[in-house]
Subunit: 316 residues, 2 copies
Amino acid sequence: MLHLGIDVGGTNIAAGVVTEDHQIIGRGKIKTNRDQTAEATVLDMAKAARLAAADAGVDWAQIADVGVAVPGSVDPEQGIVSYANNLPFRNTPVAALLQAELGKPCYLENDANAAAYGELLAGAGKGAKNFVMITLGTGVGGGVIIDGRIYSGFNHAGAELGHMIIVKDGEPCSCGVRGCLEAYASASALIRQTKAAMDADPASAMWALSEGGARVSGRTAFDAMRAGDAAGKRVVDAYIDYIACGLISLVNIFQPEFIAIGGGICNEGETLMAPLRQAVAAGDYNKDLPKHTRICRADLGNDAGIIGGAGLYRLV
Amino acid sequence: MLHLGIDVGGTNIAAGVVTEDHQIIGRGKIKTNRDQTAEATVLDMAKAARLAAADAGVDWAQIADVGVAVPGSVDPEQGIVSYANNLPFRNTPVAALLQAELGKPCYLENDANAAAYGELLAGAGKGAKNFVMITLGTGVGGGVIIDGRIYSGFNHAGAELGHMIIVKDGEPCSCGVRGCLEAYASASALIRQTKAAMDADPASAMWALSEGGARVSGRTAFDAMRAGDAAGKRVVDAYIDYIACGLISLVNIFQPEFIAIGGGICNEGETLMAPLRQAVAAGDYNKDLPKHTRICRADLGNDAGIIGGAGLYRLV
């Protein structure tokens, strides 16, 4: 049988038909419309799903079930989205609504958790029993796999790894607390850190690399460093140090087989990963034991949510 | 049947005969001798066990099995203590040695994990599925229960909750890293913070309460605060804030049903717990959800390791 995964993002609703061995064989996409009702959004999800099935050229009867990754507070047992910042869901029975529309069993999960599950099934965490994923994007998302299952606590709201405090009384975080990992290690934080370093150093190559400050991105400091810019290197070193801080805590708490890092910043590859591994190894409380957590890149990129979503039936 | 729990501490080896409903009905105790061989220490453990059986007045045949809580790196699957700072164990097959001596199946666990399991079976975490325990002592110990079982990662070295970093580049920790929770929230850290505040304020009531600085303890600042001393209150407020920092991260990571706080400092009761609950509630990333982690005191005190140890057979 085939499984349908839907990843509901702030920009697109992306659906995929996924085989038992986690290959996406057809895709459908609909622009996310934030200004419509919950019901209309569910209809868009159904439409993306049917587009994917058509793209795969499969009969609807071949689809066994549908799994949806949603950004927000999800109760997978009830099939309810309690709250989603960018979507019109407020205690909305999304699973039941979608099931009524598509005539298939529908499962829900938080998007970061679903992405971690996707990486477990088919990506960086393949075959692992315990596995932590952290995604460095606009925010810092987290997913925790324990014993091959998504762990999210008694209220399904855990694994908010971006909201560990790494600098008590530090930078304000979007959550209202100060000093969260997200306030230092997200791509947005890196851009903030880059801009601050540029303001402090009018001679930095980062100015030219960002069109005079008009296009500062998560790449600016890395590119400047590669061009030999000292200020750029300082930004990158400090940024990696912040990420390491969070990872050291995660290693000492979970001692997972892997920690996978996701998000666009991973495109820096070993420039990011090598110093990160070194910093984390130095902070591992059990550095003398023979077995250590491996730090690696997430494999599936934007497909993690679709593949994880399509795999949710395994957890029922 | 009855079960024997042994808690190997830096000062005493404490054993107890424990009923199926977690009551200790007999006790035995031997002073810990750090300057002897691993074999001699195992013999002392066996002696403490036999003393407990004699104290309970039960026949040795009524003892089904023995569970041991050891401070250090333990591999419960292999029954090996890889390393223990204060004991002569280095990759020592403690379970096999003790089993040969006592003629009963023997199980091992790290002491903080065993204590958390004890609290799950018979204390603060009773009936919980997911549960985190943190002990504020000389260091800061941690235990994590997930799905009714001890979680300690793929190398059995996880749940080192005292070694989350809460202040990047902060106070040096005994582990070599800077800014760990342990460096701020342990009883030792509180004493350090108290002494620093006293040095800064020669008029503080903490001087009189500590015999002119000769007897500064974890109680000094709390007692001074109760006597109306402003410096004492500042120490207590800051200390509670540090603990809250760690607990906020644990809530956002685990969203467990309970976090239980253990260690002598808990004797402060609501003086500690009430502001701690308030601070943690304010930092919960999911403060708008209806269900929240409860922060409570550990119930079993020094018996947690014995009761958890005696219960280890349940995990086999």
